[in-house]
């Protein structure tokens, strides 16, 4: 187990290096980041100032050296400064992280508390109306593009019915129901796909488990139907959904890029896209690093959770 964890950690770090290196190389191929300050013609920025900036950002050094300098700073907990606003990358990310986390957490709750119970229901009442509702829900969720869900939601509930705001979190409004209202559509848009994934996995695992010997035994010894389903069967049927939770997490990160664009949400995803278009490479590398870290940590936790819910699994 320990050997496995160490190995896991090593390859996790390797993923982080790979992700940030790709970004470093690509963003440098995009063009000179100094153009953010001045066009080649001038605009009042003297060649000396450009040279000083170049030296400050270490842009005059070879790419690998630049990367190593960046890596050295990261290890010491310094993510550098953004080019556009010249503020610490960690501060800028920290400001936006809350809005994205809020959305991600709500979407995850939606996915779990809609997907899993519906999955159980459609497995237990196989072939019934519930089963068809559940499967239609899953089929739709896996096929609808996140941005299309968002747009349809805006069209129906914001433009036509006027029930919900079309986005832009009303930060200045202290009255909480309007805040809560603004969260409804982004949460569902972001959470539907993972809910569909959870539903399908729970359903197929439940069908398998309900057919097993120990569930029959539980029934035979007289446990109530509800206890058999929720205590005996679901506990084992939860293993597949838990194992994909890390992928669900990545899905949120990628989904947040799209959802935040649709609903003008002031979060990490939108900031990441902006930093790409601005060629703000310190900020972009920082965001990518954070995404990759979240993924590595998430899949790590999923692996550990896996051994807890299913003690038969041993990593040797």
């Amino acid at each position: 187990m320990r050997k496995y964890l160490i190995q896991r950690f090593f390859f996790g770090v390797l993923s982080l290096v790979a992700a940030t290196l790709i970004v470093f190389v690509l963003s440098r191929a995009q063009g000179d980041p100094l153009l953010l300050y001045a066009k080649p013609g001038g605009y009042g920025v003297s060649p000396e100032q450009i040279a000083a900036l170049e030296a400050k950002l270490a842009l005059d050094r070879p790419l690998m050296v630049q990367y190593l300098i960046w890596l050295g700073r990261i290890v010491r907990g310094d993510m550098g400064e953004t080019l556009l606003s010249e503020r610490a990358v960690s501060d800028v990310i920290g400001e936006k992280l809350g809005a994205t986390m809020q959305l991600g957490l709500l979407a995850w709750l939606f996915a779990t508390f809609v997907g899993v119970p519906l999955g159980v229901l459609s497995a237990v009442k196989r072939g019934s109306v519930w089963d068809y509702i559940g499967r239609a829900f899953a089929l739709f969720g896996q096929a609808a593009p996140v941005f299309f869900l968002g747009i349809i939601g805006i069209l129906l509930f914001a433009v036509q019915l006027g029930w919900l705001p079309a986005g832009l979190r009303p930060v200045q409004d202290p009255f909480w129901p309007s805040q809560a209202k603004a969260l409804v559509m982004p949460t569902i848009a972001l959470g539907w796909l993972p809910a569909a994934v959870y539903l399908r996995l729970t359903r197929s695992a439940m069908l398998e488990v309900l057919d097993s010997e120990y569930v029959k035994l539980a029934r035979a010894k007289g446990a109530s139907g509800r206890a058999v389903i929720w205590r005996h069967a679901l506990r084992n049927a939860l293993i597949p959904p838990i194992t994909v939770s890390a992928l669900v997490l990545v899905g949120f990160l990628e989904g947040s890029v799209v959802v935040e664009a649709v609903f003008a949400w002031p979060g990490i995803g939108r900031m990441a896209v902006e930093s790409i278009h601005n060629n703000d490479f310190p900020l972009l590398t920082g965001v990518i690093l954070m995404f990759a870290v979240l993924y590595v940590v998430g899949s790590f936790i999923a692996d550990i959770a896996y051994t807890i819910v299913d003690p038969r699994i041993r990593y040797d």
């Binding site: 390859f11 790979a18 089929l139 896996q142 593009p145 649709v262 972009l284």
Partner: protein, 321 residues
């Protein structure tokens, strides 16, 4: 089988006591047309296949089917609603064209652009999927067959690969290299290849211990021949099922990239681009964005449904995917 024989017999002449008893004994009753219809519909993915075939035909024959060109503008038909809105067409008598699914903000026919969009979207998905599946399967075959360092190395690469935030890298690549259809295809192939490697490898691991592989080796077959002639046919089911289950995701990824302005160049009609453009006109001309969205929804739903069906028939082990 039994059904066919009994139905054939009962058709002879009226209620026959022998057939009646026989069918009652095996619990079969005559199926009405409606029941047969539902039986076929439940057993075979008729509707999804019909939708997919229709979309493919529409894509192939787009120039023949579409009433206008995909870039033909008609300023008199700006934001013309779909055909059923008689009122609008009465109010704008100068507009001579009638649009089945409406027109966009410069009077381009939405249906025409959707047909041409189907070409791009389906072509991109199919080509990048093929490239990804060929590479992924090759890696899975080689890793599973040779084992050892090659196996370890490829599996770890897949792990590292899966941890990369591809959407952002794709946007960055699009900004760096400029938007083009080929960049999108390369990016999608890069996303696609790592998906099925693990399943293919696992399959190869069990196949290669079989006796017939050992016999092939004894009779002097080269590694390449063993992989291609003896192992590949055994994993082809898995590969096809995995590929089918992946098409939908690629179509969605292409649409998302286009929607974020990092996919196919905006002038080209694709479903993602159309939704992205139509978003600005949502409150006044909803049809610009909604119809392409429904097209994506239908295609991805059909492909997923078909993939599920194929998996249940060909490779039930993959049920957890």
């Amino acid at each position: 089988m039994a059904q066919e024989t009994t139905t054939a017999d009962t058709q002879s002449d009226g209620p026959d006591i022998h057939n009646l008893m026989a069918s009652q004994v095996i619990g079969i009753h005559e199926q009405t047309f409606g029941q047969k219809f539902w039986y076929v519909l439940r057993r075979w993915p008729v509707v999804p296949i019909a939708i997919l075939v229709a979309m493919l035909l529409a894509a192939v024959f787009a120039p023949l089917l579409s009433p206008t060109g995909p870039r033909d503008i008609n300023l008199r038909g700006r934001a013309a609603p779909p055909f059923w809105n008689q009122e609008w067409y009465d109010d704008n008598p100068k507009n001579e064209q009638r649009y089945l699914l409406g027109a966009d903000h410069v009077g381009r026919d939405v249906l025409t652009r959707m047909l041409y969009g189907a070409r791009i979207s389906l072509m991109v998905a199919i080509i990048s999927l093929t490239a990804g599946v060929v590479v992924g399967s090759a890696v899975g075959l080689v890793a599973g067959y040779y084992g050892g360092f090659i196996d370890e190395f490829s599996m770890r690469t897949v792990d590292v690969w899966n941890a990369l935030p591809f959407l952002l890298i794709a946007i960055l690549a699009a900004v760096t290299f400029g938007q083009s259809v080929s960049i999108v295809m390369i990016l999608l192939a890069l996303i696609a290849w790592a998906g099925g490697v693990r399943n293919v490898r696992a399959e190869v691991l069990t196949l290669k211990t079989r006796d017939y592989i050992a016999l092939a080796r004894i009779s002097g077959a080269s590694d390449f021949r063993i992989i291609m002639r003896h192992i590949l046919p055994g994993v082809v089911n898995t590969i096809v099922v995995l590929a089918t289950l992946r098409v939908g995701g690629l179509i969605l990824a292409e649409a998302s990239l286009s929607f974020l302005g990092a996919g196919i160049p905006a002038a080209t009609p694709t479903w993602g681009n159309m939704i992205s453009e139509g978003r600005e006109w949502l409150s006044t001309a909803w049809w610009i964005a909604v119809f392409p969205g429904i097209a994506i929804l239908l295609v991805v739903m059909s492909v997923n449904f078909f993939g599920d069906w194929l998996r249940d028939r060909w490779d039930p082990k993959l049920r957890q995917l």
